[in-house]
Amino acid sequence: MLSIKNLHVVIDNKEIIKGLDLEVGAGEVHAIMGPNGAGKSTLAHILSGRDGYTVTQGKVLYKGNNLLSHTTEERSHKGIFLAMQYPVELPGVNNIVFLKEALNSIRVANGKKAIDSIQFMKLIREKAEQMKIPAKLLKRDVNTGFSGGEKKRNEILQMAILEPDLAIMDETDSGLDIDALRIVADGVNSLRNKNRAMIVITHYQRLLDYIQPDYVHVLSDGKIVRSGTKELAIELEEKGYGWLSQGAAA
């Protein structure tokens, strides 16, 4: 599904990603862990097409095609979804209206018919119930005045509605208490299936207690320095990231 080869990314003349390789297959869940400043969010942004980043070397193939030549919205239309670390507020923009516009933009771009309001309301009620999202949250403006937990739940609801092929979750666990974390993780788990790939970016191992990854990668100083299975995450939690750089040096 996703193949990243020798990726180098520069922001403001500073190299942040320094030769990153990653292969993600359909149905797989990959966790990317790493200390602050390792380039985790940069990776999320470069995959979703945020402006301001320059790729100096390497390539990114998505479903066999060059991903980097597409605009942000085209990538979204092709099934890439980024659950943001800091979901922005859109004052005055109703959550339901926003989601319907998003879904229909994606549907129309893929040659499908736009869904009407009645069908959409049915869909969103069903998904909101699954995600344990109260109806009153739907009626409010997008993320406006939402608590940290509500914002993250809203991201997962959007993911459930938009049904991406590749979902990237950027520090979805940050700012969540344990109950909120569990609800969000349950939501994510319910969206796992054999066709959908997920990249879960996190600083802490904690999230991985709830979302069990197939693979764990450690990103440090712009490169993946270690890859393994869930056990790697546990080892990391015990020994800290310092252990890794020592290990790398040895």
């Binding site: 402006d51 942000t72 919205e73 990538r75 922005v88 859109l90 004052p91 005055g92 923009v93």
Partner: protein
């Protein structure tokens, strides 16, 4: 909202779609303004002596006045002698039935999306369409007459209802009020007259579409709306004008009078030609709008969506004379390209327990300059009067400007005045978020801007709210990036 968004792309392609010229023979008097011009206008309209006398008084007063320059606007000098002060489609001296009207004119309205026949049948809106200076069609007059409502052109009213006109014309905006109001009083061409008798709720929304067609023709409408004791009316005004290279002056006067327990709601959507990218052409929109809450518990509400005109200078105001009377002002003003707007309101609290609400949303894009200017005056008798003002500005891009000049004068210690103001920008984060969810940039801007304006749009009648959203989408096309 979603319905309008579906049409956005189609609309964006269309540029300034109202930029066409109707080819019909017009009766236009030569440019220039002097006492003779006033006599000529009055004669063309077969006006009674008192009307001519009023015009002449206004004209002589106007000669003593200077064009105001206090607004935050850059205005090229206007040559008042190069403007023609009267233009009427030939062969039309007053409203006729639809089938008698020049098909060219009807097709103009069709291009504007206001098919009269359809509106008559479907929307239940009575339309008094002002085509240049003479009303060419008045619909639904009969139904309204049954309710006792008078809805006609001001020229007809001058002839048919001279007592009402002599009593109320200029009673809210005197002919000495300001430079452009005096000019209007001297040369006003046509406009609308509405009279709602005591206790009558007007059975339908009243509507007027204005259009400026003839090159170099100033348009000087005059609107007078009177709601007697316990009466209520909602009036919609929509404005579009075809593309012209030279600036066209539009100096209208609107007067509203609300008696005891009466309510008047006046809504405007204005999308006159704003000029081209370099600021060439476009309408000068210098309008005086004022409502008099004469009676106790009367209520006047102004809602405006201003997306057009090269320069907008208007301050729809309320004089809250009656005790417990209410004044409201809801405004969205958009400037882009080289557009300038200096707009706001005046709330003059005279009666006790009077209340006013101001919600102003200014949107500036490209090199647009947007100014809110408002006055809240609590006079000495205004016991327990209250005002709440909220002025929000939204900036798109880094070359535009937003300015706020709130004037507050309080002479009564029990009065309460609150003013809130915010300035925000559409952020890159917001755009990225929307685009990551599949929305195009245009669609994203449209959603965010409509969200910003929601408080005002919800005050508009339904059909107008949809039109206003479409207009915003067209107006802001390509403003980002």
């Amino acid at each position: 909202m979603s319905a309008s968004l579906e049409n956005v792309n189609e609309l964006i392609e269309s540029g300034y779609e109202h930029g066409f010229v109707t080819n019909i023979a017009s009766d236009t008097i030569p440019p220039g303004l002097n006492q003779e011009t006033i006599h000529l206008i009055s004669a063309k309209k077969n006006e009674p002596e008192w009307m001519l006398a009023y015009r002449l008084r206004a004209f002589h007063h106007w000669l003593t006045m200077e064009q105001p320059n206090w607004a935050h606007l850059k205005i090229q000098p206007i040559d008042f002698q190069s403007i023609s002060y009267y233009s009427a489609p030939e062969n039309i001296t007053g409203p006729k039935s639809l089938d008698e009207i020049d098909p060219e004119i009807l097709s103009t309205y069709n291009k504007l999306g206001i098919p009269l026949e359809e509106q008559m049948a479907l929307a239940g809106i009575a339309v008094d369409a002002v085509f240049d200076s003479v009303s060419v069609a008045t619909t639904f007059r009969k139904n309204l007459a049954e309710a006792g409502v008078i809805f006609c052109s001001i020229s007809e009213a001058v002839k048919d209802y001279p007592d009402l006109l002599q009593k109320y014309l200029g009673s809210v905006v005197p002919h000495t009020d300001n430079f452009f109001a005096s000019l209007n009083a001297a040369v006003f061409s046509d406009g609308t007259f509405v009279y709602i008798p005591e206790g009558v709720r007007c059975p339908m929304e009243l509507s007027t579409y204005f259009r400026i067609n003839e090159a170099k023709t100033g348009q000087f409408e005059r609107t007078l709306i009177i709601a007697e004791k316990g009466a209520s009316v909602s009036y919609l005004e929509g404005c579009t004008a075809p593309t012209r290279d030279e600036n066209q002056l539009h100096a209208a006067v609107v007067e509203l009078i609300a008696m005891e327990d009466a309510a008047i709601k006046y809504s405007t959507v204005q999308n006159w030609y704003p000029g081209d990218k370099n600021g060439k052409g476009g309408i000068f929109n210098f309008v005086t709008k004022r409502g008099n809450c004469q009676g106790d518990r009367s209520h006047i509400s102004w809602t405006q969506v201003e997306t057009g005109s090269a320069i907008t200078w208007k301050y729809p105001s309320c004089i809250l004379r009656g005790n417990d009377s209410i004044g409201e002002f809801y405004s969205v003003a958009v400037t882009r390209g080289k557009q300038q707007a200096d707009t706001g309101t005046k709330m003059i609290h005279i009666g006790a327990n009077t209340k006013s609400t101001i919600v102003s949303k200014g949107i500036s894009a490209a090199q647009g300059q947007n100014t809110y200017r408002g006055l809240v005056r609590m006079s000495i008798r205004a016991e327990n009067a209250r005002n709440h003002s909220q002025c929000d500005s939204l900036l798109i891009g880094d070359q535009c400007g937003a300015h706020t000049f709130p004037y507050i004068e309080v002479s009564n210690p029990t009065a309460k005045v609150e003013h809130e103001a915010t300035t925000s920008k559409i952020s890159d984060d917001q755009l990225f978020y929307c685009r990551q969810r599949g929305l195009s940039e245009e669609n994203a801007v449209s959603l965010i801007v409509n969200g910003f304006c929601k408080e005002v749009f919800k005050e508009l009648p339904m059909e107008f709210a949809v039109e206003a959203q479409k207009l915003l989408a067209i107006t802001l096309e390509g403003s980002v990036g």
